[in-house]
């Protein structure tokens, strides 16, 4: 018999640069796990599974998640499932856990995202090994170059200026400055962003995410078996993933996110979301580069084509606006790899649970959208919709 799945606890550690981080990866994961268990009001012995993310090539390990998870002391022989789908790993952890719970084979599953980029010396070289070898890698095609393609195509299509891209960054930093867990908590001006160190045209350093060290954990559980818990569950109302082909050349159009747009239609239909801009109380999307957030808002039907930057400039996506988006500051200000990818899911769930960090909590948030993207040329997308599930015993 199928069951319903909900997030019943989430834990997010404070983020720092890897250089300043005093804790080991295991210690960060332990902190996040304990925080999630504490938030749910439960203990490790109620868990019957762990789903954990791991990107070997970035971490200098092979399935490091496996010994890492054992080091947390979560109980003998607890099944550990390791997911690796690049930038969608974090969000997919929750989707895999939700299926385990929805099938009835598991009752409570821990999702754990560790600090993927922690300790790598040649990070850019490591990340670039996901660009298609033989065909695209010999060209010096790496992660942010793939991002820059979309930035240029989008700019040309809609006549956007570097200042427009900078406006997105300014807004993200302003939000992150109020999130106690964020890594880059300083504010910036459009001038500082536009005149930052050029990386890959048109992207400057401030338009690209930092490398952070942090961990995020989340507990996915049977939504109708929560009597022993103390949190307000975030029901996983709908979810889905979508994939593009491998080669960057397989993208139909770099100026619009068609893969995400089709996924959004599918997931919205599952949740009966008919007017997304009006129906979401809060949105967390994985937008590590400046041009991504406006493009994603458009693909998600939250802004008209070419209107993403205007929506952000209008203040609608800021705290108190009609569509609070990435109040966490998003991956633009904190990106700890798999932890950074799980973060949009954790923040979105925390918002409808009424348990987001106080300075960024949207009062009375009931429905939230969470998003992840990654892989070669951002070929993978995932989405989930959370709804507050008021407790019958409340």
């Amino acid at each position: 018999m199928p069951y319903r799945a909900a997030v019943v606890g989430a834990g997010i550690t404070d983020a720092t640069s890897p250089r300043k981080q005093q804790l080991s990866a295991v210690e960060l994961c332990q902190q996040a796990t304990w925080a999630a268990l504490d938030h749910a009001g439960t203990t490790p012995d109620t868990l019957d599974g762990v789903v954990v993310g791991n990107i070997d090539g970035f971490e200098g390990t092979v399935l490091g998640a496996r010994n890492l998870t054992r080091a947390l002391g979560l109980g003998a022989d607890l099944p550990v499932t390791i997911i690796n789908t690049g930038g969608t790993t974090g969000g997919n952890l929750m989707q895999v856990a939700a299926r385990m719970v929805r099938s009835g084979s598991h009752a409570r599953v821990l999702c754990l995202g560790g600090p993927t980029f922690f300790g790598v010396r040649d990070l850019q070289s490591a990340i670039n090994t996901n660009s298609p070898m033989i065909i695209e890698q010999p060209l010096g095609m790496g992660a942010y170059h793939m991002g820059a393609f979309a930035a240029n195509a989008y700019r040309q299509r809609y006549g956007l200026t570097p200042e427009d891209l900078a406006a997105v960054v300014v807004a993200d930093h302003e939000k992150a400055s109020r999130n106690p867990h964020a890594h880059l908590r300083y504010t910036v001006t459009e001038d500082e962003v536009v005149n930052g160190r050029p990386l890959s045209s048109p992207l400057t350093q401030p338009m690209v995410c930092p490398v952070s060290a942090a961990a995020v954990a989340m507990i996915v559980a049977d939504a109708d078996d929560v009597d022993d818990l103390r949190s307000t569950p975030a029901l996983i109302r709908a979810m889905g993933m979508s994939s593009d082909p491998y080669l960057g050349g397989g993208k139909g159009d770099f100026a619009e996110m068609q893969n995400l747009a089709t996924l959004a239609r599918r997931v919205y239909a599952l949740a009966d979301v008919r007017d997304p801009a009006a129906e979401f109380d809060v949105v967390e999307i994985f937008a590590p580069y400046a041009h991504m957030q406006p493009m994603q808002l458009e693909a998600l039907q939250l802004a008209p084509p070419g209107g993403g930057v205007e929506l952000i400039r209008s203040g609608a996506t800021s705290a108190g606006g009609s569509l609070p988006t990435n109040l966490s500051g998003g991956p633009k200000c904190t990106n700890a790899g798999v932890a950074g990818e799980l973060a949009p899911y954790a923040y979105a769930a925390l918002q409808v649970m009424g348990a987001a960090p106080e300075p960024i909590q949207v009062p009375g948030a009931r429905r939230a959208l969470a998003h992840g993207t990654g892989g070669t040329f951002f070929q993978f997308e995932n989405l989930a919709i959370f709804e507050a599930l008021p407790r019958s015993d409340a």
Binding site: Q21, T61, S125, L139, H145, F149, A153, Q156, G250
Partner: protein, 153 residues
């Protein structure tokens, strides 16, 4: 401030990547200054680089066609910084739609004035015509095409 204790850990593996029949044929073509694409028997999409299968129809591709070494530059970026093992910056990488192709081929584009960063997009607007320049020595790899140059005729 205390120093953060770390230990050096090295990860170094060597691989011989299996090219497979499809990419082998493409690489052999480059040696002879030919850009070979293959075609989905169901929807007629033309793939370059070639694919063993069409992801949309889920059918094995079969027919091979030779494409002209010219097409339109749909998008590009200039990389201002290098990385270990990568090319020397700055360099421009573009997504090129060869005439007759359904997909984009990624390659270097030359002919940009890097001293004018603010005019890059104006120098090569989307849709600019470009042409492949062959490397004098060809060994069956993607850099047998040295780069693409603007076709200003």
């Amino acid at each position: 401030m205390t120093t953060t204790p770390t230990q050096a850990v090295h990860w170094d593996l060597h691989y011989d990547i299996h090219l497979g029949a499809t990419w082998s044929r493409f690489m052999d073509g480059l040696r002879d200054r030919k850009i070979l694409a293959n075609v989905c028997p169901s929807c007629d999409r033309v793939f370059v680089p070639p694919q063993a299968y069409c992801e949309s129809c889920f059918e094995r591709t079969d027919r091979w066609v030779e494409l002209p070494p010219e097409g339109s530059l749909e998008v590009f970026t200039v990389a201002w910084h290098g990385f270990r093992g990568g090319p020397t910056p700055p360099y421009a990488i573009g997504g090129i739609r060869l005439d007759g192709a359904s997909t984009l081929l990624m390659h270097w584009v030359i002919g940009l004035d890097f001293t004018e960063p603010t005019t890059l997009l104006a120098q090569l607007p989307a849709g600019s015509r470009v042409r492949a320049v062959w490397a004098p020595q060809r060994t069956g790899q993607i850099l047998d095409i040295a780069h693409f140059e603007p076709d200003r005729d």
